[in-house]
């Protein structure tokens, strides 16, 4: 994990993105947009935000193709990382806005329906199995933080555990997940 990787299709794609080859962006979109869109929809629980953030992510890649380091992981993982951060940023802005609005209007926005966020087959099955194999406490902590977009403080409050415990469960859970995925041969 974290070792430099041999050049693969992702580094060829990166070279083409840097050169300004438009087909490299369309190819990247066709390969990864469903993942980016689903991940953002899951974290934000808002389909319109999912579209906006998906656009942000691909425009960022097109403008900064060199920011993706093909030696440190796959383009898919890199895009997921970028999409997740942007989604959490959106949630933070939205929370701040809602708090403001709530003070004024005292009403909660309805939670949009996000049923239909499917999980990609095979690869996803193995990731899901690896998550399911975690001790229940670590699993709940990581799910809440990653897929619900909660901070470790919010996770601690929600689960009724000290903040330090939430943080250490994230460390232990991710380390165990890394071992498990490596053992399954999911190296990238």
């Amino acid at each position: 994990l974290g070792e430099r990787q041999r050049p693969g299709p992702d580094s060829a794609l990166r070279e083409r993105l840097i050169a300004g080859d438009e087909t490299a962006l369309t190819r990247t979109y066709d390969l990864h947009a469903a993942m980016v869109y689903a991940l953002v929809a899951r974290v934000t629980r808002d389909w319109a935000a999912a579209e906006d953030v998906t656009q942000e992510v691909f425009v960022y890649l097109w403008e900064h193709p060199a920011a993706f380091d093909a030696g440190r992981g796959s383009l898919r993982t890199w895009l997921a990382t970028l999409a997740h951060r942007r989604a959490v940023d959106w949630v933070r802005r939205e929370m701040a806005r809602r708090e403001r609005d709530e003070r004024q209007a005292e009403c909660l926005l309805p939670e949009p329906d996000i049923a239909g966020v499917a999980i990609a087959a095979t690869f996803a099955d193995r990731v899901r199995a690896a998550v399911a194999a975690l001790p229940a406490a670590q699993q709940a902590t990581i799910r809440l933080a990653y897929f619900e977009g909660l901070s470790y403080r919010e996770v601690a409050t929600k689960l009724g555990i000290p903040e330090g415990t939430a943080k250490s469960r994230m460390r232990l859970g991710l380390a165990r997940l890394a071992d498990r995925l490596a053992a399954e041969g999911i190296s990238r």
């Binding site: 974290g2 060829a12 050169a19 300004g20 080859d21 438009e22 087909t23 490299a24 962006l25 190819r27 066709d30 947009a33 469903a34 993942m35 869109y37 991940l39 999912a50 579209e51 998906t54 656009q55 691909f58 425009v59 097109w62 403008e63 440190r72 992981g73 993982t77 890199w78 895009l79 997921a80 990382t81 999409a83 997740h84 933070r92 966020v117 499917a118 999980i119 690869f123 996803a124 990731v127 998550v131 990581i142 933080a145 990653y146 977009g149 901070s151 470790y152 996770v155 330090g164 939430a166 943080k167 994230m170 460390r171 859970g173 991710l174 380390a175 997940l177 890394a178 995925l181 999911i186």
Partner: protein
């Protein structure tokens, strides 16, 4: 950095990789990572695992999002593919967007080209692109008769027969995927490979000219479809028009010779006006020394010239200014109109 900062960051790294810290903590971690190789390594390891959690989900985005995202990206940073394939890639993208926006009924509307429907016209484009795809050894959309002078018509007929049995979406997808494969292959091989000779429909031209020929036809037929759909014509951008005109100029001496309109030892100055225009000296036959003053100067609009080459203007009627030998001018314009082989 202090030991307590290092300790605090170590404790936060996993939460940071899940984007579960506060904004202040994020800033603290990210500043620390710049100066601490150990933490940076651990952080990347956590990030890779977290990223894999995310990379396992998938929901197809709404169909319209693709065009929106690409347009936003290309508005920020215009694409610069290898020069040889750029006009073709651009026209393919434009036709793809045009077809996406087409109402289902419009696919069966009759175009000005041989009475073909829009779907049959797209199949025709795919058939001719397919001859090039075969030469480049990428999968062909509508596999059919082999290459050769008569291949153009039989390839078109075979592709249209297949297309009539399928949905417009399937024809569109087959055409587009094949075009992407052609562009990808040329991008991978680079500009240097574009000078090699490729035979298409009995004409042996350098690959770069074949690609410009495909760009030209894709544009002209996209405009045929726009006409049916009531959309205004959308010509290539000026630098691509300039490339297209340059390609025609390179091929004109051959066309003059083939159509028996050549004039050995003579040349013409062709002045094309408008965005992307320019000036070229065209040899009208063998031994046309470029040092001799051209026997005629022909000035016309760049777009009119392109439409003439695309068979959308009559060479005898196209508005142009001629100074010098009018017969040479008429022969050059007539030869330019022979490229259209629909």
């Amino acid at each position: 950095m202090s030991a307590s900062e290092h300790e605090r960051v170590t404790e936060l790294l996993a939460a940071w990789s899940l984007d579960a810290c506060t904004v202040d903590e994020e800033a603290l971690v990210e500043a620390h990572l710049l100066g601490c190789a150990g933490c940076a390594k651990a952080a990347n390891a956590y990030r890779q695992v977290a990223g894999r959690l995310g990379s396992a989900v998938a929901t197809p985005p709404p169909p319209g999002l693709r065009a929106k995202v690409l347009a936003a990206a290309f508005a920020q940073r215009p694409p610069v593919p290898p020069a040889a394939v750029a006009p073709y890639a651009a026209e393919v993208r434009k036709l793809g967007m045009l077809l996406d926006a087409l109402a289902p009924a419009a696919w069966q509307a009759t175009t000005a080209v041989n009475g073909w429907t829009v779907q049959e016209l797209v199949a025709h484009l795919a058939a001719l692109d397919g001859l090039l795809a075969a030469q480049l050894r990428v999968p062909v959309a509508f596999p059919g008769p082999s290459n050769g002078a008569s291949g153009l018509h039989s390839a078109t007929a075979a592709a249209q027969a297949t297309a009539r049995e399928q949905s417009p979406a399937a024809t569109r997808a087959a055409w587009h995927a094949q075009a992407d494969r052609i562009v990808d292959r040329v991008c991978q091989d680079g500009d240097r490979a574009a000078t090699r000779t490729v035979e298409l429909g009995g004409l042996a031209w350098p690959l770069e000219l074949q690609l410009l020929g495909r760009a030209f036809e894709t544009w002209i037929h996209a405009d045929d479809i726009r006409q049916v759909a009531g959309v205004t014509p959308d010509p290539p951008r000026p630098e691509h028009l300039n490339q297209l005109a340059g390609a025609v100029v390179r091929l004109l001496p051959g066309a003059l010779l083939e159509s028996g309109r050549d004039h050995p030892g003579r040349s013409a100055r062709l002045v094309l006006s408008g965005d992307g225009g320019g000036e070229w000296v065209v040899p009208l036959g063998r031994d046309s020394g470029r040092a001799d003053p051209p026997a005629v100067t022909i000035a016309l609009d760049l777009l009119d010239f392109c439409y003439l080459v695309g068979g959308r203007r009559d060479p005898a009627q196209v508005p142009c200014e001629v100074s010098g030998d009018r017969m040479f001018a008429a022969d050059l314009l007539a030869a330019a109109a022979t490229f259209d082989r629909d």
